[in-house]
């Protein structure tokens, strides 16, 4: 399998993207910002279309638009957390602009736009070049390192913003930086996993880890390993079964991990068990 260069590139980029998604995913689930992550990943698609319409490199569009939306959401919301109606309306509008740009592209430069669209929406990890893969891995690694470095203040400001403010942690700036990191990961992963499927690699491992343990460091490690495991398994599966797209396989495995975690913790909860979610499930 590793004899082909495109497979090696896919594994290199995929591993580090999954690592970044899994790491940030745990915090996204903890902060209940899955919807914001969803908006960022969908908007990444519009960024790619806009870049194609303007004739610039795809990455410029991806990063500009996701970062702009992250900062916008952070600025509008209370404590850098926008409420869901604001997120919903602004990103629906951006998607509408995407529909317009798509029509502009289709009427002006007739031809290959359909394939680009499908690739941006659903990702084509096997079409990454060696330099693309290296860059993706580097960006993902940098984002992961940034989040890990800020783990303690981020944890405190997510769980108890008042206490964090008292302790001198800049909660608002940290929230903005978190959204910006999420935007960067979303923009970079769009090329591999696809704008529509990226959320699964963020929400499912984070959710699974949150079900399994309440301990933060273990949770982050678990979430990251589930994401990487799903990525490896998905890549191997899609290589073995030709008609199975890589992103579908990856998302399917991540979702299976989440479902499995839910079932396992239900079976294990014969004795009182302290998890992050047990308080929410008593109602």
């Amino acid at each position: 399998m590793f004899a082909h260069e495109f497979v090696r590139n896919a594994w290199l980029a995929g591993t580090f993207i999954a690592l970044a998604c899994g790491t940030i995913g745990w915090f996204v689930v903890l902060r209940a910002q899955v919807f914001a992550g969803d908006a960022l990943s969908h908007v990444a698609f519009v960024g790619a279309i806009a870049a194609a319409a303007a004739g610039v490199d795809e990455r410029i569009g991806l990063f500009t638009l996701t970062l702009a939306l992250a900062i916008g959401m952070g600025a509008l919301g209370h404590r850098a957390r926008a409420d869901d109606v604001t997120i919903g309306i602004s990103f629906a509008w951006i998607l509408g602009i995407g529909a317009l740009l798509l029509a502009v592209l289709a009427t002006s430069a007739a031809g290959a736009s359909g394939i680009t669209t499908a690739n941006t929406l659903f990702g084509s990890i096997y079409s990454l070049s060696a330099s693309d893969a290296l860059l993706a891995a580097a960006i993902a690694l940098a984002a992961t390192a940034g989040i890990l470095a800020a783990t303690r203040p981020l944890l405190l400001s997510s769980l108890d913003p008042e206490l964090a403010t008292v302790r001198g942690i800049p909660v608002r700036a940290l929230g903005l930086a978190f959204l910006a990191a999420l935007a960067i990961i979303a923009a970079e992963s769009t090329r591999a996993v696809g704008a529509l499927l990226l959320l699964g690699l963020i929400a499912a491992p984070g959710g699974a880890a949150a079900v399994l343990t309440a301990r933060p460091y273990l949770g982050v490690a678990l979430s990251a390993s589930i994401a990487v495991g799903a990525m490896w398994g998905g890549l191997a599966l899609s290589y073995a079964i030709a008609s199975l797209p890589a992103s579908t396989a990856v998302i399917g495995l991540a979702a299976c991990a989440y479902a499995g975690a839910g079932i396992w913790s239900r079976l294990a909860r014969r004795r009182p068990h302290d998890t992050l979610l047990s308080a929410g499930e008593s109602g």
Partner: protein, 288 residues
């Protein structure tokens, strides 16, 4: 060929009704706007924008799956949206508006996972069956050109069923949306209501997405009701205003789209966004 505007606006409006496809589109748009206005008002009240976005995205796997199985597309929409509503309702446990933060932690991860699984399945169906659907754009961004009168009748039936269900549930649903704890204490079956509402929402979204496309249903479902919430807090006035704004959005969007080459989804989202911004500004001025 794109029709051009004449100097006489009344004549322009009359010309909108000359083609059967346009009459069907306007009829479908009207039904969908009334439905989305009412259901959306509850969605905004219950803070379920994420859940409704997820349900709206389910239209994509539904349509792709139906095409693969050789079934009518509309059937795929309804089946997929209802299935996703059931999945979210079962796994999300307490999707009430005032569910505690810990409740929401689990819920939003579940919704996000359901959404991507649906999309991944849709992508799989599409790649197994690429020749029939052509491309994902129409499914995701919608078209109002191909609506038949049979579809309008189905839409009408679904909308009537959903509206009757919502009218019957109106009072307990309002109660349990505003204060689930007190409603539960007062004997209202909150969990069952939550699940029922999700199913009604799924049906409404399946109906709407045939017109606006899977990604943009959301604009019609959230923007007019959110604007109404900014202007009034009274339930009945809010519901009526929300329906009126939704009707205005879809009529304007269809009329503009008829005279332009660009997709109706763009106009729906833009008008919805502008309405919301205006309503926010109006609400802020009034509160001074």
């Amino acid at each position: 060929m794109i029709p051009s505007l004449s100097p006489n606006p009344i004549d322009d409006v009359r010309r909108l009704f000359t083609y059967p496809f346009m009459v069907n589109a306007l009829a479908a748009g009207t039904i969908v706007a009334i439905l989305a206005g009412v259901v959306g008002w509850y969605v905004v009240l219950r803070r379920q924008a994420f859940a409704s976005h997820t349900l709206s995205v389910m239209a994509f796997p539904g349509a792709a799956g139906a095409a693969l199985a050789g079934l009518p597309t509309a059937l795929g929409y309804y089946v997929a949206c209802t299935a996703a509503a059931l999945a979210i309702g079962r796994a999300g446990r307490s999707p009430g508006a005032a569910a505690g933060r810990r409740g929401q932690v689990g819920e939003s991860a579940v919704i996000g996972t359901v959404q991507t699984v649906g999309l991944a399945a849709g992508f799989l169906f599409l790649s197994l069956n690429h020749s029939v659907l052509g491309g994902p754009e129409t499914l995701l961004f919608g078209t109002f050109l191909g609506i038949t009168s049979g579809q309008v009748l189905v839409l009408l039936a679904v909308a009537l069923a959903a509206l009757v269900a919502l009218t019957a549930l109106a009072r307990p649903l309002l109660f349990s949306s505003i204060d689930p704890e007190v409603a539960r204490a007062g004997g209202v079956p909150v969990a069952r209501l939550d699940a029922l509402f999700l199913i009604v929402l799924g049906l409404a979204i399946a109906a709407t997405s045939q017109l606006t496309g899977a990604l943009l249903v959301f604009a019609l479902l959230i923007a007019p009701p959110a604007a109404a919430h900014q202007i009034t807090l009274r339930p009945l006035a809010g519901l009526l205003l929300s329906v009126a704004l939704a009707l205005l959005t879809i009529w304007l969007a269809l009329a503009i789209a008829y005279y332009s080459i660009y997709p109706v989804g763009f106009y729906v989202t833009t008008i919805g966004f502008v309405l919301y911004v205006l309503a926010r500004a109006a609400g802020r001025i009034r509160r001074r």
